[in-house]
Subunit: 253 residues, 2 copies
DNA sequence: CTGGGGCGTTGCAACTTCTGCAACGCCCAT
DNA sequence: ATGGGCGTTGCAGAAGTTGCAACGCCCCAG
């Protein structure tokens, strides 16, 4: 809608790939160097980009701080956190909390496993949307046509042999998840890692977030992990209850 | 430099305070509603803001994802991380890594204490610049006139009775830190928490990051914590060495 | 030592884009 | 019903933004 802002914002993902100098930015934006310079200057004034000692631009500190604040303001996160910690204390495994927002699912909280073998993941990182158990739950709650539209739009990277291969398989999986009210990821993202997940619902019954417990094969088998399902679901329901209670007219997410 | 972009970016910190509707955004920006709407729309297209179910705007998911990428691209972070983990294994306390950038110091990595009592802090959060041990180290390395200028510009909140009260005290502390090559924060931020910190230097000797070990009084006394200083300094030096070696012509931060 | 190329920067005039207005439609509460 | 609040749209004037060309700078090559 606004050309100037549009261009300026396009610079950010570009810099996320790595530092770039003025010429590179101008080229990739398809604008004159002087234009790129002015945009970068404005971004710089707001701390969104930073100029390294070699004159190249990087993403700036304020961007990071802003994102931090953004996450700290999420009400579900606040409510869920103590429950996640308690669950971690009970089972010892890695616990995640994720939300869906405009075609992306991302982790907004995490409690690390107490076992020495830990899985890689990071708060703020978009999750593997086609395979993650939490993603399945969040997407399964969308209206039918939205699921269809999204499923067709996605890529289906074959992380492992068990990854969801195509839109049809994905929609089928979503239907199943929707039906049963919980989800799993058994080696679909990383060969040796399994997850069980449960949905967190708002007062209106819509899924507002999802939580999961993940553990590598070397610690517990998939079957053993599945025995935790009742506990995970109970925790999710507790969070749902508290969230619905406290949330009066506040927005989702 | 660019009015439109400037206005658009001003919306972000505003939304970081909490969700806001169109009218509020327009008011605080001092522009017409229709203008604010167009700016918000552009931000929305880029995923920087998100529209909640109650129509109010929040910061968006892409912002969080971008910030995540920004941090993952920091080379010092990559190099330092395993060292921080090892240090944590040796002493058990919380370990932080921080960098300075344009009048701000922020944590870019953290390894949690293994003791039950943990301190609050969060990656991406700007640190209490006038009292934190890592901040002292990073600022102490600036040129004299920069230190002066910055010191005068800062606020000096009295978190505790031992907080740095004013520019003079701060500059004096920086001089001392610069001299001795390490820093402490003994209850200057939170009454019961102490830190010891050491600088990480690039090939040219400039301080590029700082790391610290923090622990509450209830776990170890300040004196006991200070006995860790040699270990902390050695770790920082190891990181410096590795960073200087690997870094050929790359930028700071 | 000198010349050339690369890169960031600036002033300017033309023009594209953005702005604020006013009016409309919508929903909720009175 | 009806008024107020809020988001949304089309439009013409105003204003900001654009690309150009030229400059200065630094570094490398001749």
């Amino acid at each position: 809608m606004s050309q100037t802002v549009d261009r300026a914002l396009s610079i950010l993902p570009l810099l996320a790939e790595g530092p770039a100098d003025l010429g590179q930015v101008a080229d990739r934006l398809g604008v004159h160097k002087s234009t790129a310079l002015r945009l970068l200057r404005t971004l710089h004034e707001h701390g969104m980009v930073y100029r390294q000692s070699d004159q190249r631009y990087r993403l700036g500190a304020r961007l990071i701080a802003l994102a931090q604040e953004a996450m700290e303001n999420l009400d579900i996160r606040e409510i869920a956190h103590p429950h996640l910690v308690r669950l971690n204390e009970q089972c010892g495994h890695t616990v995640h909390l994720a939300v869906y927002e405009e075609d992306e699912v991302l982790y907004i909280d995490k409690v690390e496993s107490r076992y020495p073998v830990r899985m890689y993941s990071r708060i703020g990182k978009p999750v593997a949307i086609t395979v993650a158990a939490v993603a399945k739950l969040l997407l399964a709650d969308l209206a039918e046509h939205e699921r269809r539209a999204l499923a067709d739009k996605l890529d289906y990277p074959m992380y492992t042999a068990r990854s969801t291969p195509n839109p049809e398989a994905f929609l089928k999986e979503l239907a199943k998840v929707r039906e049963q009210g919980w989800a799993t990821d058994l080696g679909g993202h990383e060969e040796s890692i399994n997850c069980v997940a449960a949905p967190i619902r708002g007062a209106d019954g819509r899924v507002v977030a999802a939580m999961s417990v993940s553990a590598p094969n070397v610690v517990v088998t998939a079957d053993e992990l599945l025995t935790l399902l009742p506990l995970v679901r109970r925790t999710a329901d507790d969070i749902s209850g508290e969230y619905s209670g406290r949330t009066s007219a506040k927005g989702t997410v």
